[in-house]
Symmetry: C3
Subunit: 159 residues, 3 copies
């Protein structure tokens, strides 16, 4: 057992893998933050999706009016879904990329740009910035993921 654990620890000791672990955790925490921001807007805008969430505002019609959509809530939710659509590919392809033996410098470049692009995307979505701010930050993250996918397929392709 000691030997196995050592081997696992070696994985997390590898610098490329540590960089992946760091940036994957950062973008996932950033994505998780969207839940809190959604909750914040739901409570301050009084806009809920479930009847049981409005029960504290009273019964019947007086509570029902808070079962509604709100532009700010929907905006955060779209940002959250966009995170899912883009961070899931980064998680999967990034892990395989980290295991495909890239140079540390190149790997760090990919991870840092992706994390920066997704953080910029969130600000662009929530402020919101005029286009093409949000579009560009989305495209940068997308391109980084494609670049990692290319390296994975070049290294590992086995159909």
């Amino acid at each position: 057992r000691g030997g196995e654990m050592a081997k696992l620890t070696q994985l997390i000791d590898n610098e490329v893998f540590r960089a992946y672990a760091t940036y994957a955790t950062i973008v996932l925490l950033k994505m998780m933050l969207m839940s809190l921001i959604t909750a914040y807007f739901r409570i301050t805008r009084k806009a809920f999706a479930n009847p049981e969430d409005t029960a504290s505002f009273g019964k019947g019609e007086s509570a029902k009016k808070y079962l509604r959509t709100d532009a700010d809530v929907e905006r955060v939710r779209r940002g959250h879904l966009n995170d899912l659509e883009n961070i899931v590919p980064f998680l999967g392809i990034g892990l395989l990329y980290a295991l495909s033996g890239p140079e540390l410098y190149t790997a760090l470049l990919h991870f840092r740009i992706f994390a920066g692009a997704r953080i910029a995307h969130t600000f662009a979505y929530l402020i919101p910035l005029p286009q093409p701010g949000r579009g560009l930050s989305w495209a940068v993250g997308y391109a980084v993921t494609i670049s990692m996918a290319y390296k994975v397929l070049k290294t590992a392709l086995y159909l």
Copy 2:
């Protein structure tokens, strides 16, 4: 090749990794169950999103009326999306956590509480239970993920 396969098998032989594999699979199967529950409500409530799904109910206007949203269907769909938003971070951060060399006892505690919280969240959403039942079960899973993220960053941080 025999040697490599042995090494892979060693990963799955590690007890912390086996615990991760078990609980990750359980929460993913639970999430997949939401698709079946959605299908069940779509069929019993006759509420579909695509015209081609209503073709068996006849043609034209008679089928068109089944292209509608239904409160129960939408509730399951919200639960499914909430699963995605919370189980994706658990999958990624939990894997890195399992590789960061935690104590078996501590790791099991994290995995068991997370899985229990997400199962409780599903019941709270679908029954539905009065708040703060659903909110608390959500928060417990969220806190467990944050705790694992802290361990990952403490062990692996490489910016």
Copy 3:
């Protein structure tokens, strides 16, 4: 460091793991394609979700009319969400399955059928094909994931 990197490279040298890496990357790229198809329909149908996305069409009321839903855009978005709901379990369970020591032939069979089913599902959704085309392709991918989950739990179960 050389030794650690060698060990990582061994992981990606394992044939089952290479097959997982290949098919996981393929289905993730396919899922990422949905973003481009959504953007294509949003632009050609002039149907946007954010006011800042319509600014190039002019100001005030003239731009506001492009803040609308479009049947084709919504269809692609449903396909994208269905991808997330099904490809996330494949990523997680498939990785654990690849590490659980399956026969190469069996593993390839699972990965190929899953990837084929999801590609068929996308065509069935976007063309769209009459049912049960989409339903069947969805069910095949679902069944493959359940089969891999069974192998993972049989090999690794540690509650």
